[in-house]
Amino acid sequence: MSLAAEAFVTQIAAAEPWPGNAALYQPLKEEQILLSDNAACLAVQAFLQMCSLPVQLVHRANAEYMSPSGKVPFIHVGNQVVSELGPIVQFVKAKGHSLSDGLDEVQKAEMKAYMELVNNKLLTAELYLQWCDDATVQEITHPRYGSPYPWPLNHILAYQKQWEVRRKMKAIGWGCKSFDQVLEDVDQCCQALSQRLGTQLYFFNKKPTELDALVFGHLFTILTTQLISDELSEKVKSYSNLISFCRRIEQHYFEGRAKDATFRLSLIS
């Protein structure tokens, strides 16, 4: 009953137009957000920009816990709360906005496959770097993740999260990988993306899709985030067409909003 009711409510809500007070919630930009969360937030921002749907950015220290799925970012539209890129794409589609409608079935399947690739390789590599690489964990992840909380809660929560992520890593077989193996995976993923992109403007010709938003979110974050070592960003930098792809999306969709100072838009080249 509740599932059916929920689906019904979602449908009713979907029929309403996009409201002016829609908000996108993400963790604190300066002191809290981590690499993987930043990538996810940026991907959703890029996607909504591409759909020309206005949202107000709201930074909350407890964004992760406010989210119904426990993952950032999430959007609050009307009285609906939807988290993560996949469900947000579905939700937006139900409201009549879609970037992938022009694609045929084969292209759609291809797009989904590449999105899975990015989630499986790039996202997992980011999680590996921030929760399994001991130097990064000590110097960046723990201080940032625990920053909104007083002692001893900052350590407790960071260790709790670390334990949870490491357990997931073990379950998918990344637990015993070395950092070099992870870099190798990232390189392969970038190579595949670079080959698919070739000399096109976007992955599917002239119009961006949610795949472009997702790839932009991850690559842009990897390129612009200061980490202990720049091995990860070096891997991405060896693919010049991916760099110019990021720059293109940044200029096209974020330049106008640069004045709100949420982005440091200088790509390191």
Binding site: E64, N79, V81
Partner: protein
């Protein structure tokens, strides 16, 4: 002089330490001298020895404090009375399963002609006692496992552990209790716990993991408790449909607070008192000892009881409280006050008064509630002198208000706000006393002064609880 048994002065309490469970009717049985003992009453005696049989791990010094008065007895009746009091005190320690007193003439070389020996035959509680039960309720089944180590170090210290494993939540509590030898009311306790609560009226789930230390001590006729508590609180939504205001409160917080509670209670029974008064004042200061929650919270409870015509009792009570957030962070949904329900302002649903968002009640920073009751025995008094005495009929008039205060408006504006839109209700019902700790009520209520957003229960309302307005 023969052997006098002081054994059956009153029925033995079954569980030993429940010294607070004497009902209003069960007053202490005074040892009344019988006709043939009157001769002995004036005869001077000396208590020469006090023996203990059955002591194993209990230390001598703690026993000494409890029985030293027996040596001060001057005549036989005195010896019996003092021995009886000593027995009461020993049972109150909660370390003996059974205490029997035997008074005999003194034997041996140094025996005086009027010398008496008092022997306490005690049976200590086992080192480890356990309990196991299952509970079903709130769409949840759970298994509760309890372990108790009474008298663990031989001076009435107690360690208790309770673990509840449910289909939805697990919780546990570990506590250590130590009284001061000779002053059982002065005690220290240390607690470690995890509890999970679901609050459907707010669509809120709260998990608390905490540690607390508490010192209890009496001053004159008042009881005081000083407490420090550090709690890691995790708030979350009970359902996806929770309002956004509740969602915004989700996440972790750490509260470290110092609190003081004072209780003056002259009532003989706390559930259906005939006379006496109660005053409870509680204050809590959070934030100065760490954590990221800062507030000052004050609340009080007053209750007055007067016997009235034909065994009826007139009772009046007043509650009030205020929460002042310190700093620029607003107060948390977990700290605010809630009002309404069959245990406070009757005729309204549980905690369903005051500020709300999309049907989820958010609580308020200030509240007051008052109640007037007239308790009478059941009409025609069925079961008088027995089962029927557990019941009362009552007529009540409740009123109260709960609101948020915008600090900066001044105290007069606050008072005006609390006096606006008062919720009140009246009605009648039946009260059932359960032991001396809880009561059940079945009432017919007529709510008045209902504001938009309040959820009411017009008509029959059933309530169970331990604290009643």
């Amino acid at each position: 002089m023969g052997t006098v048994h002081a054994r059956s002065l009153e029925p033995l309490p079954v569980s030993g330490p429940d010294f607070g469970a004497l009902g209003e009717e069960a007053e202490l049985i005074e040892v009344e001298p019988e006709a043939k003992q009157e001769i002995l009453e004036n005869k001077n005696v000396v208590v020469q020895h006090v023996h203990f049989d059955g002591l194993e791990r209990t230390k001598d010094d703690i026993i000494m404090y409890e029985i030293c008065d027996v040596f001060k007895a001057k005549n036989l009746i005195d010896v019996m009375r003092k021995s009886h009091e000593a027995r009461e005190k020993l049972l109150r320690l909660g370390i003996f399963r059974q205490v029997e007193v035997l008074i005999d003439t003194c034997q041996g070389d140094d025996a005086l002609p009027n010398g008496l020996d008092v022997t306490f035959e005690v049976m200590e509680l086992r080192r480890l006692t356990g309990s196991y039960n299952t509970m079903v309720g709130n769409n949840e089944g759970s298994m509760v496992l309890g372990l108790k180590l009474p008298n663990i170090f031989g001076r009435a210290e107690k360690v208790t552990f309770q673990f509840s494993y449910g289909t939805k939540e697990t919780s546990y509590g570990l506590s250590f209790f130590k009284p001061q030898p000779g002053h059982f009311e002065r005690n220290v306790s240390l607690n470690l716990y995890k509890v999970t609560g679901q609050f459907p009226w707010s669509s809120l789930r709260e998990t608390d993991r905490g540690i607390s230390t508490e010192i209890n001590f009496p001053i004159l006729k008042t009881n005081h408790a000083l407490k420090w508590e550090g709690v890691w609180r995790e708030l979350g939504c009970l359902a996806r449909t929770a309002s956004f205001s509740v969602r915004e409160e989700s996440g972790h917080s750490l509260k470290s607070s110092v609190s003081h509670a004072m209780v003056v209670d002259s009532r003989k029974s706390s559930i259906l008192p005939r006379q006496g008064a109660l005053l409870k004042i509680n204050q809590e200061l959070a934030g100065y000892t760490g954590g990221n929650v800062s507030f000052l919270k004050e609340d009080f409870e007053v209750q007055l009881n007067r016997p009235f015509l034909w065994d009826s009792v007139f009772s009046a009570s007043l509650w009030g409280g205020m929460l002042v957030p310190i700093g620029d962070k607003p107060s948390s949904i977990a700290d605010r006050f809630y009002l309404g329900g069959p245990t406070s302002v009757r005729g309204f649903n549980m905690y369903s008064i005051g500020p709300q968002s999309e049907g989820d009640y958010l609580g308020g920073e200030a509240y007051w509630a008052g109640g007037l009751h007239l308790y009478t025995p059941l009409p025609f008094r069925p079961g008088h002198g027995g089962f029927g005495d557990l019941f009362r009929t009552h007529f009540f008039l409740n009123a109260g208000n709960l609101c948020n205060l915008n600090y900066g408006e001044g105290p007069k504006a606050h008072l005006r706000k609390l006096a606006e839109c008062i919720r009140w209700s009246y009605g009648a019902g039946i009260v059932l006393r359960l032991g001396n700790i809880a009561r059940l009520e079945l009432n017919y209520c007529i709510p008045m002064g209902v504001q938009s957003g309040d959820r009411i229960c017009d008509g029959i309302q059933f309530g169970a609880g331990i604290r009643f307005l």
